[in-house]
């Protein structure tokens, strides 16, 4: 492939105490693609996200984001790298004491020297982008779950990051709202060219948005499949991958056993 690699993970090991959650996993994410990390509960998806964002340091291995290694750099350098990243958290993580507009304006005010009025315009533009125009002065507790996610997305995109991370974007949303969010993700990806990494287990959303997926599984503590989700659904030989994509109930030996494969 001749596309540029934006995120490169090499032999990443993640552990909590003595429990190894991820064992030597490696993958690349290319510029401009929508990349999904899948896996059942407890497969280490959230752990992987926390390592990618530098919230936890990994035991060993390299995570290179846009040319900089975040597994070795110090706090200040990490902060520089994080400027290129936007994150939409599962609960949207809007600050409850601030209005929607103040939430979106927060990173803009901190990192740019724009005059106050331009910031307001920019915030309005960002909110237009996620169809939340008119909700500037609402508090997060006054808007619905889907709106919170969109406001969170507007905040994540405030500084036009190169990479957007989504932690379970459709969690807690009804199918219609969730489909709208998927559409928004695709739209933003196509119009802005932002690389997107989505952590999810929502099948519909995976088929709708993801160009490429990797699948984690707790039995191997690593990646058991990668590629186009539709191809994996139809062609994969791995029994767990088949189960996952075709939504079949798990056989106990496969989902619980350590020696499933």
């Amino acid at each position: 492939m001749n596309r540029k690699v934006v995120i490169q993970v090499k032999n990443l090991v993640a552990r909590y105490g003595d429990d190894i959650i991820l064992d030597r996993i490696s993958f690349d994410v290319y510029e401009g693609e929508i990349f999904a990390v899948l896996g059942g509960s407890g497969s280490g998806k959230s752990t992987l996200l926390k390592r990618l964002l530098g919230l936890h340091r990994s035991a060993s291995g390299k995570i290179i984001i846009d040319g900089d290694d975040i597994s070795e750099c110090d706090e200040d350098a990490l902060q520089q790298i994080l400027r290129k990243i936007g994150v939409l958290y599962q609960s949207a993580a809007l600050f409850g004491s601030m209005t929607v507009a103040e939430n979106v304006a927060l990173p803009i005010l901190e990192y740019t020297d724009l005059p106050r009025e331009s910031v307001d315009h920019l915030v309005k533009m960002k909110l237009n982008l996620v169809n939340l125009d008119g909700y500037q002065n609402y508090l997060p507790s006054e808007i619905s779950g889907g709106m919170k996610k969109r406001a969170g997305l507007a905040r994540a995109m405030a500084l036009n990051p190169k990479i957007l991370f989504f932690d379970e974007p459709s969690a807690g949303l009804d199918p219609v709202t969730s489909a709208e969010l998927d559409k928004l993700i695709i739209h933003l990806n196509q119009s802005l060219g932002t690389t997107m990494v989505i952590i999810t287990h929502e099948l519909e959303s995976i088929f709708a948005v993801a160009n490429r997926v990797i699948m984690l599984h707790k039995s191997t503590r690593g990646i058991i499949a990668d590629g186009d989700p539709k191809y994996l659904r139809d062609q994969s030989r791995n029994p767990f991958v088949k189960q996952f994509f075709n939504r079949l109930p798990g056989d106990n030996t496969l989902t619980n056993g350590k020696d499933g494969f």
């Binding site: 994080l82 958290y89 609960s91 993580a93 600050f95």
Partner: protein, 352 residues
């Protein structure tokens, strides 16, 4: 057979089936039309009871639906007594070791927290514009202005009580005027800062812990970090600065209200004139007393805000932990306030 009747049936069967039992018992399920897990429970209890008497239980005439229920619930495997055993506790040494390691990790966290607070405070001193002034003013209002009525009321009553109690003794010597000295000196030097700090710990220390703890469990602290904000600088520094500024001022108010309380008792019960009372108060107090109370209050404020925020950041997991953090914030800050006050007592004894 369902949840309502199962308990009755089990006790009924147990009282009927007294030993000795025949070597084999058969339960005829022919007339059973409906069976759920409570029904199966009755059968299992029966089976265990019978097995205890070295006898065996047979089921017959179970229809298809009943058989299906039995197989879903794994009736055949349920025979072993007390299928539900709790996870056994590791022995004393393992628990001791785990406890020690947990404490060490906590200590580690506390030291890195103190370090990061110090660094953030230095950063803010060097770059005053990086202080979030809106948040600081809001905290000042919450910690200081909003606490004024309760601090004033409690201090007023405290002054009243102190004057009243001491007057009973001092009146015997005709030393009524010294009530003013007693109230003002004890309040300004000791009780003013302590009472204010304890009220602030209960009002604001707990609020800090709950606020940060809730932000922690809803990913907001992580969001701050990934947006490039230092959570300590963003959340802790405004609270510490607001507390350190407002608590000494609150203490001053507390002193004033207590003296006012004493004055009320002096004027209405001890036949002192207000002028004499105030003159005696001014004669007793030195600027050093007021100043030492001020410093004490500032140190207490630092402890309260620091502990409140620390407990908030220590929250992991769910809502119950936020409650725990809140309790712990109040308890630890009151303990530290008293400890620090003891330290001040020793220092001021030799210095003042």
């Amino acid at each position: 057979m369902d949840a309502a009747t199962a308990a009755e049936t089990i006790t009924g069967i147990k009282s009927i089936l007294q030993p000795p039992l025949p070597p084999a018992l058969t339960v005829d399920l022919e007339k059973v039309t409906y069976l759920d897990d409570f029904g199966v429970l009755v059968l299992v209890e029966l089976k265990n009871l019978v097995a205890g008497q070295k006898s065996r239980l047979y089921l017959k005439n179970a229809d298809k639906r009943v058989k299906e229920i039995l197989s879903i619930l794994k009736y055949d495997a349920l025979g072993e007594p007390a299928a539900f055993t709790r996870k056994s506790h590791p022995n004393m040494f393992i628990r001791l070791g785990e406890g020690a390691l947990g404490q060490a990790a906590d200590l580690n966290f506390i030291f890195s927290f103190i370090g990061s607070v110090c660094l953030s405070l230095i950063h803010v001193c060097l770059h005053p514009r990086s202080l979030r002034s809106d948040d600081t003013f809001l905290s000042m209002k919450k910690v200081g202005v909003d606490a004024l009525p309760i601090v004033g009321l409690i201090s007023f009553l405290l002054g009243l009580i102190m004057a009243f109690m001491s007057s009973v003794q001092l009146q015997q010597f005709g030393a009524n005027i010294y009530v003013a000295s007693l109230v003002s000196l004890s309040m300004v030097r000791e009780l003013g800062p302590i009472m204010t700090a304890i009220i602030v710990a209960g009002r604001s220390g707990s609020a800090f812990a709950a606020e940060i703890g809730t932000m922690k469990i809803s990913d907001e602290v992580d969001a701050l970090f990934t947006m490039g904000f230092d959570p300590t600088r963003f959340l802790v520094v405004p609270k510490i600065i607001a507390s350190v500024i407002t608590v000494p001022i609150l203490t001053l108010f507390s002193d004033l209200f207590a003296i006012l309380g004493g004055l009320v008792v002096g004027v209405f019960m001890l036949d002192l004139t207000a002028n004499a009372y105030i003159a005696q108060t001014l004669k007793t107090l030195t600027l050093f007393d007021v100043f030492s109370g001020f410093i004490k209050a500032a140190v207490f404020a630092l402890l309260i805000a620091g502990i409140g925020c620390l407990r908030g950041f220590q929250v992991r997991g769910g809502a119950a932990e936020v409650g725990q953090a809140t309790t712990s914030a109040v308890v630890s800050s009151i303990f530290l306030i008293i400890l620090a006050d003891a330290g001040f007592a020793v220092i001021l004894r030799y210095w003042g």
